[in-house]
Symmetry: C2
Subunit: 330 residues, 2 copies
């Protein structure tokens, strides 16, 4: 996929193509090609290829879909980093931090429109179906992002606090929709029957939620060297992620201790508070709740494909992907 992805990004105006190559980890900030590119994991393209393969399609049939989805995913990352004010991604300064908000915003818009154009310029019925799936997934993602943005203004406790159920809905929209789209688009481009496409979409949707739950565990207890995220980062940034929400909802002494820490004088947590806060989230069952939720959805994902007659090799690869995505050290 990467040659096709690079070719797509080259269609951007030179200034935006250059900074996008930095975002993808192909170039350093000065524009020099890196010999050891530190790209993302390309999970979504891999899922599109695996779904196409499972239905007997040749790998290349999934390429336009894989490229489009990876472009959309990275468009969302670039804009999310601006919105969240995040300054590091994959152990490097984020795009807006390195090149300014204006260029980063415009580069994100460019990746967005390239994604649509990559599929539209195929001029096949399958690609047209795929692009419709993609726009619908993007609207669903937007609903999830809007929910998430709304969460930031909600209190940690009381009747207006974010509930684990609300979290689930937001995760299904924010992360589930695009991962569901990855497998569905792979299936569509391989010529899959709508009934099969629906099963691959369900597989991806559950996997996406499991992935998000795991990501939330990593956002608190990840290994910085491997994940590029600081330990306890989500607590320091006061993000309302599942382990924290579930811990606060647990009605335990640890939950009350955590609430005291989080609401103390309206001050954000500092690195000094972190060991205690992490311990309280754990003791209140927040970590176990997120891990159980991930497990539940990973099982549901595997079940969604169970009735399909696909090769055992394809099934094993899809299941291995599901396992990988719910590992804490991925």
């Amino acid at each position: 996929m990467e040659p096709a992805l690079r070719a797509a990004v080259k269609r951007l105006p030179a200034a935006l193509s250059r900074i996008s190559a930095y975002h993808f980890g192909w170039h350093n900030a000065a524009g020099t090609a890196l010999t050891d590119p530190s790209s993302g994991k390309a999970v979504r393209p891999a899922l599109a290829y695996l779904a196409a393969e499972a239905l007997g399609g040749p790998p290349r049939c999934a390429t336009p879909g894989a490229v489009a989805i990876e472009l959309v995913h990275n468009f969302a990352l670039v804009h999310d980093d601006i919105m969240d004010g995040d300054i590091m991604r994959r152990n490097r300064p984020t795009l807006w931090k390195q090149f300014g908000t204006g260029p980063a915003l415009l580069a994100g818009d460019g990746l967005h429109i390239l994604a649509i154009d990559t599929l539209l310029s195929q001029h096949t019925d399958r690609a047209r179906t795929a692009v419709s799936l993609l726009t619908r997934a993007m609207i669903a993602t937007l609903h999830g992002q809007a929910k998430d943005l709304g969460f930031t203004q909600r209190p940690w406790s009381g009747p207006a606090a974010v509930t684990p159920d609300e979290y689930r809905q937001a995760a299904a929209a924010k992360t589930g929709a695009l991962i569901a789209c990855s497998t569905a688009v792979g299936a569509v481009l391989a010529g899959g029957h709508p009934r099969h496409v629906a099963r691959f979409a369900a597989f991806g949707r559950h996997l996406g939620i499991a992935f998000q739950c795991t990501d939330d565990v990593i956002g608190l207890w990840g290994e910085p060297g491997r994940t590029g995220k600081p330990v306890g980062g989500d607590l320091l940034a006061a993000r309302k992620t599942l382990p924290i929400i579930a811990a606060l909802a647990s009605d335990t002494p640890a939950a009350r201790g955590l609430l005291d820490l989080l609401s103390r004088g309206g001050e954000p947590l500092t690195a000094n508070d972190l060991p205690e806060a992490l311990h309280l989230v754990d003791v209140a069952g927040g970590r176990a709740a997120a891990e159980a939720e991930a497990q539940r959805h990973m099982t549901a994902a595997i079940h969604a494909l169970a009735p399909l007659r696909i090769s055992s090799q394809a099934r094993e690869e899809l299941n291995a992907m599901a396992l990988y995505l719910t590992r804490r050290d991925r």
Copy 2:
């Protein structure tokens, strides 16, 4: 068009739909519907309807195209205001200024994807052609915006200064592409022959450049009460617009005086400098150059449609639109 546009915007997540209604001038900042909505001029939708009408299509055939283009136009306005740091639009605080950068950025992304989805969900061959025209126009617009962003870092004089020719290319891309797309999409949705569509595209492209040149004159000598833009605003913001670039390129004493003012100690111009700076742009021929350029392209636009057999009423309406768009008090 407006009911269809409002229905599209309602498909956004509630929080984004609400702030988008503020951007469109339908609501005030508190979310109350305004009895006297101060929407934009809806120039692009009007052009789509006029092109469709000229080719004998019923008005409603152009509606999905008109809505999509107005959504794209407003997506670009919302993101441009963030990039440029502009705080006022249509005499009200800009979206990011009123609601924050994150929500405004996300609302812009939402309008972007809604535009694509509005056309795709028609499921007709004409709408599919229209959406391809739209994505190509959006990529061209991006090239223009990237050029424009690059201009901000260039000096006012010397070999690296922005030339009037570079300005023309950027204007054709930044403003011409989407206005060309407006008339072309109207023609396509009315079932126009590709040869006719190309003529409508040429009409729109020339009109777009004329529009941008006029906009640049308004950006210096507009009537704030009518246009919502402050007198001399583009000089205060150090924007490299045609009147200023042409004045500086004129090799006159006034050009040298203007350059002195603009480069004095690297300080931006103040309101005190404005009368003198505006006078110098005028004396150096900057205003006349921009007005002549607008006139030239308006004439070319009218010529592009000359060979077409369309009703004299449709022709008069299209020409009237061209005249309106190049009026300084529009």
